[in-house]
């Protein structure tokens, strides 16, 4: 009886059995009702040794959309939804002209941030390492167009995504760091009004 109990305990804590799977990751990432925080985006151009940096705030409500509020170097608010992207002009949301491939790109980002492994698997080979409190997801493109654009994509996180690194085919690298992330804390008025 005792041995059986210990075997059970052993099995439960053994990493090989209790491995952190993609499914688990999706579940973890899709748990919060909404996420908000700050971002820093750094784009490094390979050939010019040049760094372009922007930062701001973001609010993500899975299945509703994403507010991407750049504050530096200039103020710019974007609302990103599966069907398209809009820009705030101070009074209204203006539709960006819809472009080919843009929906796919938008979907990719929503999938990346929202941890939609199923969506990502269509275009990438995914390999997940680490545990629930510290994981790293490597995306290697398998679809034709993603192969043309990306060398690879890396996502790191815990209960939320904390960093996304895009290695572009031509050598540029874009890093997005997310800080001060809060889940399910009350949203500000703007976010409430414009993401509902």
């Amino acid at each position: 009886m005792k041995t059986r109990f210990f075997t059970l305990i052993f099995l439960l804590i053994s990493p090989s059995v209790w491995a952190f799977s993609l499914q688990d990751l999706s579940q973890v990432l899709q748990k919060p009702q909404h996420i908000q925080g700050e971002f820093t985006q750094t784009r490094q151009l390979q050939n010019s040794a040049m760094t372009m940096k922007t930062n701001g705030k973001f609010v993500l409500i899975p299945k509703r959309g994403l507010l991407w509020h750049t504050q530096k170097p200039f103020d710019n608010r974007l609302r990103v939804r599966a069907e398209g992207m809009m820009q705030w002009n101070g009074q209204n949301w203006l539709a960006h002209t819809r472009k080919t491939g843009q929906t796919q790109q938008i979907q990719l980002f929503l999938d990346l941030l929202g941890g939609n492994a199923q969506g990502l698997e269509k275009q990438f080979d995914l390999s997940l390492t680490g545990q629930a409190n510290q994981w790293r997801l490597q995306l290697n493109p398998k679809s034709m167009i993603m192969k043309k654009i990306f060398q690879s994509i890396e996502i790191k996180g815990n209960s939320v995504v904390t960093q996304i690194v895009l290695h572009e085919k031509q050598g540029d690298r874009t890093t997005m760091d997310f800080q001060r992330i809060q889940t399910n804390t009350p949203l500000d008025e703007f976010a409430q009004k414009h993401l509902k």
Binding site: M52, P73, T100, Q105, D172
Partner: protein, 777 residues
Amino acid sequence: MKIIRWIYGLLTVLCVAFLGYSLSVGNRLQTDLTALLPEQNQIDKVLQHADATNEKQLNTQVILLAGSVQSEKAFESIGKIAQLWQKSGIFQAVDSQIVPDWSQMQADIQDLRLATLPEEQAHLLIHNPKDYFQTYAEYIVNPFGQTSILSLEQDWLGLGRFVGEQARASSRLQWNAENGFLFVEDNKGKTWVYLRGVLPEKHINGEKLLNLLEESRVIAQQNDAEILQAGGAIFASLTKQQAEKESQIMSLLGLGLTFALLWWAFRSWRVLGLMLPLLLGLVWGLAVAIFIFNEIHILTLVIGTSLVGLLVDFPLHALTPALFRQNNESWQINDSIKKILPSFATSLLITVLGYALLWFTPLPILRQTAVFSAFSLIGALGATVFLLPILFREAPPLSSHLHYVCERIAYFLLKIKNLFKNIIILSIFMGVTAWGLIKSDWRDDIRQWANLSPNLLNEMKKIGKLSGTDWGGQYVVVEAPNDETLWQKNTEIHQKIQKFVDSGDIQSVQSLNQVLLPISMQEKVQERLRELAKQPETWQALVAVGIPEQTIIQALEKQENIQTLTPKESLQKPLMQAWQTLYLGEIEPQRVASIVRFQGVKPESLESLKHALSTIQGVHWADKRAYLNNSFEQTRNQAVYLKLISYVLAALGLCWFFGAQRGMRILLIPLLSALVTVSILGYLHIPIGLFAMFGLLLISAIGVDYTVYSLTAPHSAYGKLGGMLLAAMTTGISFFLLAMSQTPAVATFGLTVGLGVILNFVLATWLLPIDFKNKLN
């Protein structure tokens, strides 16, 4: 006589030999519907060029969409179908999975970025560069919206980010990055995947194409997907297949029924001998037509086969009286032929004359039919005169049942004739006929010439809606002395049409100014960029996101690879393929032309659209259908005049042969039946176009034939009645069969002649001196 017999024999042998030779050398059957159209020599060169470009595009591409609610199924089906198409060898090219050549695309985009810069962006750069660069800076740091294929270092000024979108034309198709197929989703969530095959311009194997499409349909069904298909070649092949099938069925059925009827009348297998005039008639017609035209059109054959009935008229006229001879009367076929030969030769001459006049129309099909018919008649006449006597040495057995039928018919017709002696009934009849004549609708419509399957038309419309593919939408041709003015005119037209688009009267418009900047504007942009190098305040936003000032100044000053391109140079790039057909280039010195297309024009707003564009010089409406209808109408009117001439000539001939009074009487009957036929068509709401007109021509020929026979042949009245009855029935069979054709034009033709034959028969019998009362009581 003997010499003529020898000549006839010799010519027949020549015809058979020539026909055998030319059929063995190659296919002489022309099936292309466009071959029917009048030759366009009066049309302007620019319009002609535009038309040819348009036709080529329409006729060479075949588009197929496979749709399913489960998108994978749709993609799977298209994958399989595309493989099938590629293997088939029918297509010159099959566009299925698009695998872009990245470096080629990058090079094209670099070259094109100035020439295809959207006009409003050019204006923004020139008049409000600060806004331009602010938007561009936002674009650079926006992680969601980057669609440029050029890297930042290849395109510091951001001109290239518009090229891809510009090049895409108005297509609604999206590119599936996973598999490279183009697709579109409809509002019911169905995914439609796109496949396009390009046929060679000539030698399209229609049968193979149709089989291939059928196989494609089966594949889609197996994969639970639906299919839509469209393409000029599909219509052409289907029409051809239908015409071939129809002409086969009709000639077989016509022959079968004709001989059943003859067998019933003659009760002798010898009537099969009547095949001979028929066969030799067709051999003559075919041989001479191919000799003259080098080919024969399928529609000529369809109409020609209807001659089957007409070709046996003469032998029937000669043979039938034998069935009505008095018991002991001896009967010699040679005598019978000799008796009617003069009258028959006269009517033949008049008929051939009527056909010969058609030679002067500009329509190839009428000319072919004229030659074919005239020579078939001559061939058949020769066979009757020279060969029948050998086959029918003995008189056929008396036919009491035919006699009985003739008596009943004669009695019935006489009663009707007596009715018309009543002045009231006659006036009512005349009134009714006149009203029908007034109601008759004289117009031509090219759509009557072909029977387009409504299913296919529907599929085509659906494809147009889903993919935004343009199917023979309307267009105008714009011409100007140079590219610069051409661009201005395009802009002007575009602006005017845009109002219609905004109000929903037109779905969309495609013009060159939407994608190309004129050289002058490109140069202006270049110049402005150089100026901006000295105005750093306008591009501070770029500096703010981290691009060094020096880099921007260098880009503005040096403008590497930012070159100007003429429309021709721009459109030559593979990336701009979708727009290539809009630019026609320099057709003649000082005449540059382009096309402005519009889709989904509401019919009621067409006139105001035309009016709106009429103020711009150098705009030509290219409404081919209207042009064709117009030219058919002209030809039809020409046929009317020719017919009048043929009447006058016939009148002269008849009066000369038979004296003035009799001659005019003979002419009156075909004229009357033609009038009544037109009146009936009027009541039936069948438009009288070229084909009906052609039918009327034939009616008068048959009418003259019957009348001359009934008035002048020295046979017994019943013999002549029987002869005409059999002749009318055999002719009627073939033309009423034709009236059931799926092609409206052919059906109208058949109905016209069928009606006319009956009327001719009825009227001609009234001329017979038969005293029915004695016989029947």
